[in-house]
């Protein structure tokens, strides 16, 4: 086939001539993982955190955060049982701490998907060390944000009114309201982030399952991993599914805070009614999100000794993001002020005069300016970016500043609108404070639980960025490590070299914990062989063996690896996955559903005039078109991934092979199935042994 031919040509070119000689780097490239690290040490380092007893501070910390969380629950219970009047929100400031905290948390939730999706599309491989943590943080932050829309309506049991569910009242949400767009945007964002996070977790859950000693852990992680074993036939769908989800999340992450900003921008309140809001909010969200990632990651990396994975270089790059987005946000602050004056709109100008010079909330405005615009400017200096304790202080300022930004926008704008007769201030009550602090308790409780039970770094992805993960990797001599012309070109090279040179790929297969018989019986099996299993030492040996087996005429070959090995998909005789067709189908289904729902309900079922527009005017339907397209595409991607891989497959005949579980740890396995026309139990076993395979055995089907 032509398709196959093209791949082979590409592969052979790469195999004959090492890539690094064809596209030589001008400087030695700093590795992403510093110091010696093998697949096994990565497992120990990352998965070990969830297996060993937690450090002594963990329980007291959990006690504190959950006590604070209980405070939030008490505040929410009091609010629900008594009424929203227990908050200080009142005319004219009807939105105050509730929406401030909602927008604050939604903003925090932006870094995760930005890191995992946008940086993925830009092939920024340094993201692998921080993406899991920040995705988890995204999910927790969106949960914290979701608390407020849930309870701020008072009668939270009517929260289902926000969703377009058929009901006996025959009333539907107003699809032309920015608040409804917000509901769709936030719930889509939460769902897609959760899917993205879970899909990323699957290989690591398999690693946890295969490392587990206790029966309970084996079963729990066994269920959660859906029977993932690192089959290359699965990886080919997996990699494409991940790419699709990244592609879906990228516009989604930009849309969410744009839509949140529409809550304000589509109103007529001076200080809110501004077209600059969407980009300004998105920049602010990324800014605040990165700050929160660093706020949690710097202590975690120190406590769990992850400095070789989340290196100083990672912190450095994230600080550059903070500097860039902080300056963008600062530019937006100045532009808002300038346009308020330049527009000649007296209402707008008086609001901004009150905001910036001598009003009731000027202190909050300048707190925001200091924390968000001025303080992060220190990141122009390398020392400030590369000193973790200092970065921690700066990002604390940023988090405070981002909270004040939302406070200023919401409270200050509301307290001084058109009519001087209705001006008034906002006074938070103890319930406001307790609810806000309780939300932080919720966030940090979830974070602590996450650190305890799930791998905080994407193990499989980090394995894939090790030098030895590349089958064509040529090890660099120790003496020359990271040096060019006998010296370190930059301080960063020197810092990385101080951790020591990276490990080289293992040359030999580790011994099996128990003897491997030639035929492995499986309880309750068919009596016939399922196929032959062979283990290899490293990705290069496996790739060579797979190609030889193909050359020898075998067709039903599969390679089982802890991470997707480059070139393995074509080597086992498969092509790029067709999964994107399902994603496309999902997107079209979502779009069609959104169009049908909105047009039918708004123009025919219950026609009602909103904003003086025609019943069927479509412009205001666009945000929900987009959100539902992404939502359905995400679901189709997840389910087609599971379906195409034939998951869940908790039992597989190969499970009885003594070393097969290494396929999710650091082993590289090859199987030839009995369905292969050339298969012959003894002949194939001998052939694989001849190829250098170890622990070769026929497995009963």
């Amino acid at each position: 086939m032509l398709h196959e031919k093209a791949h082979e040509t590409h592969e052979t070119a790469g195999a004959n001539e090492p890539l690094h000689t064809r596209f030589a780097d001008p400087l030695p490239r700093i590795p992403l993982v510093w110091g010696p690290a093998t697949f096994a040490t990565l497992d120990d380092q990352i998965a070990g955190v969830t297996e060993r007893p937690q450090p002594g501070w963990w329980w007291p910390a959990l006690l504190v955060t959950s006590a604070v969380l209980v405070g939030g629950v008490i505040a929410a219970t009091y609010l629900i049982s008594t009424g929203v009047g227990v908050w200080g929100s009142n005319n004219p400031v009807n939105w105050a701490f509730d929406i401030t905290n909602f927008v604050f948390w939604i903003g925090i939730g932006h870094a995760g998907t930005l890191i995992s999706a946008i940086l993925f599309l830009f092939r920024q491989k340094w993201r692998t060390s921080i993406n899991r943590f920040s995705e988890a943080m995204t999910i927790f932050a969106v949960i914290c944000a979701g608390v407020y829309p849930g309870i701020h309506v008072g009668r939270f049991w009517y929260a289902w009114f926000m969703f377009p569910l058929p009901n006996a009242n025959h009333i539907w949400p107003n699809f032309r309201s920015a608040l409804l767009w917000d509901l769709f945007a936030v719930s889509t964002y939460f769902t897609i982030s959760l899917i993205f996070w879970y899909v990323g977790l699957i290989p690591d859950l398999a690693t946890l399952r295969d490392r587990a000693k206790s029966r309970a852990r084996q079963r729990i992680f066994g269920f959660l991993a859906l029977g993932w074993r690192g089959s290359t036939r699965h990886w080919r769908h997996y990699e494409v599914a991940y790419l699709m989800l990244a592609g879906l999340s990228t516009p989604l992450v930009l849309s969410v805070h744009s839509v949140v900003s529409f809550d304000f921008a589509t109103s007529v309140i001076p200080g809110w009614h501004t077209t600059i809001f969407p980009p300004y909010f998105v920049a602010g969200a990324i800014f605040g999100g990165f700050a929160m990632v660093l706020q949690c990651m710097i202590p975690a990396r120190a406590v769990y000794k992850l400095e070789n994975l989340v290196t100083i270089k990672h912190i450095d790059v994230m600080c550059k993001f903070i500097l860039a987005t902080g300056t963008l946000v600062g530019y937006a602050y100045c532009m808002e002020l300038f346009v308020a004056w330049y527009s000649g709109n007296p209402n707008e100008w008086q609001t901004f005069q009150d905001r910036a010079f001598g009003g009731d909330y000027t202190w909050a405005y300048w707190t925001m300016m200091t924390c968000n615009l001025f303080v992060p400017q220190v990141f122009w200096v390398r020392w400030c970016r590369q000193t973790p304790w200092f970065v921690l202080i700066v990002v604390t300022f940023v988090n405070v500043g981002m909270w004040y930004e939302r406070f200023v926008i919401i409270v200050q704008s509301l307290h001084h609108d058109f009519l001087p007769g209705s001006w008034g201030r906002f006074y938070p009550t103890w319930v406001d404070w307790l609810q806000m602090v309780g939300d932080f308790g919720l966030f940090f409780t979830l974070t602590l639980v996450f650190l305890r039970y799930l791998p905080m770094i994407a193990i499989a992805e980090v394995k894939g960025v090790l030098g030895m993960a590349n089958p064509y990797h040529t090890p660099v001599p120790d003496a020359e490590y990271l040096k060019a012309n006998g010296r370190y070109p930059t301080q960063d090279h020197e810092r990385a070299a101080a951790f020591g040179p990276p490990s080289n790929a293992p040359r030999a297969v580790p011994a099996s914990p128990e003897p491997v018989p030639a035929f492995i019986a499986s309880p309750g099996g068919t009596g016939k062989p399922w196929g032959v299993v062979a283990e290899f030492a490293n990705p290069h040996d496996l790739l060579v063996a797979v190609r030889r087996a193909r050359d020898a005429g075998y067709q039903q070959i599969d390679a089982w690896t802890p991470y997707p090995v480059h070139g393995m998909i074509t080597a086992i005789g498969r092509y790029r996955s067709r999964l994107p067709l399902f994603t496309l189908a999902g997107g079209l289904t979502g779009l069609a559903a959104a169009a049908t729902m909105q047009f039918y309900l708004s123009a025919y079922y219950y026609p009602i005039i909103v904003g003086g527009k025609e019943y069927r005017s479509w412009e205001a339907f666009v945000p929900i078109f987009f959100e539902m397209t992404v939502l359905f595409a995400g679901f189709f991607t997840l389910f087609s991934l599971i379906g195409l891989c034939g998951l869940p497959k908790l039992f597989h005949p190969v499970d009885n092979h003594p070393t097969f579980k290494r396929s999710s740890l650091g082993g590289f396995l090859l199987t030839v199935e009995a369905t292969d026309p050339k298969f012959d139990p003894d002949g194939t076993r001998a052939f694989l042994e001849e190829l250098g395979g170890k622990h070769v055995a026929v497995v009963e089907g």
Partner: protein, 221 residues
């Protein structure tokens, strides 16, 4: 190393997944059948203190609805008749129709003491929904549209859901349900031969300029 899960687990999981999907589907379908007013309200048929039969009084004797519910054309409320209305016929000292019947004891007691007979309310709208009988019947909405064939009911039962969606169906398209205002209390009315209910209704809608409100505050005032 032995496998973590038994060989049968995947088939069991798939069966369980099908079970969950079917179960959730049944819950949803059940909810939409059992939890809506079309099920919870329709068919409500309390036992009244007096076994008053609309079937006998209206269906057989031909009393007009307004004989008892006398303010329906000029008041928001159709009004439940006082014991006095019953006593026009059942008073033992006057017409003496079944004047000694023990079934009518509560009516006589109500008439004598002035305490109302404890009729149980069948049709009840929420307090936050404003409904005006007069405007509906004067514009040609028949009693039968909301209360069903009362002339055939021995014991009155809740005939229609009276949910908001049910109201809106007619408000959105009233033409089908209108009839001449003079025929509103004629529960057996049918259009003249050669005409459909819809044609008659549309003509009346045009004639009486029936334009029912669809906004929230028309009912939630």
């Amino acid at each position: 190393m032995a496998a973590i899960f038994p060989r049968t687990i995947d088939a069991q999981l798939r069966q369980a997944a099908v079970g969950v999907v079917v179960g959730v589907g049944l819950v949803v379908v059940g909810w939409y059948y059992y939890a809506l007013p079309s099920y919870t309200r329709v068919g409500y048929q309390p036992e009244q203190p007096v076994a008053f039969s609309h079937e006998q009084h209206v269906g057989q004797l031909g009393l007009d609805c307004t004989y008892c519910h006398q303010h329906v054309f000029d008041s928001p409320h159709a009004t439940v008749p006082a014991a006095q209305t019953c006593m026009n016929c059942h008073n033992p000292k006057k017409a003496n129709v079944k004047g000694a019947s023990p079934l009518l004891a509560p009516v006589r007691a109500g008439f004598d003491t002035g305490q109302p007979v404890g009729w149980k309310r069948v049709h009840k709208l929420p307090e936050y929904a404003y409904f005006n009988h007069a405007v509906h019947v004067n514009k040609g909405v028949s009693c039968v549209s909301c209360h069903g064939q009362v002339n055939e009911m021995k014991v009155v039962a809740h005939d229609q859901p009276l949910s908001m969606g049910w109201c809106l169906k007619c408000h959105n398209d009233p033409g089908k349900s209108l009839r001449p205002a003079t025929e509103v209390t004629n529960l057996t009315w049918a259009p003249d031969a050669g005409q459909t209910r819809e044609e008659v209704g549309k003509a009346i809608q045009k004639d009486l300029q029936v334009n029912p409100p669809m906004n929230c505050q028309s009912c939630h005032r």
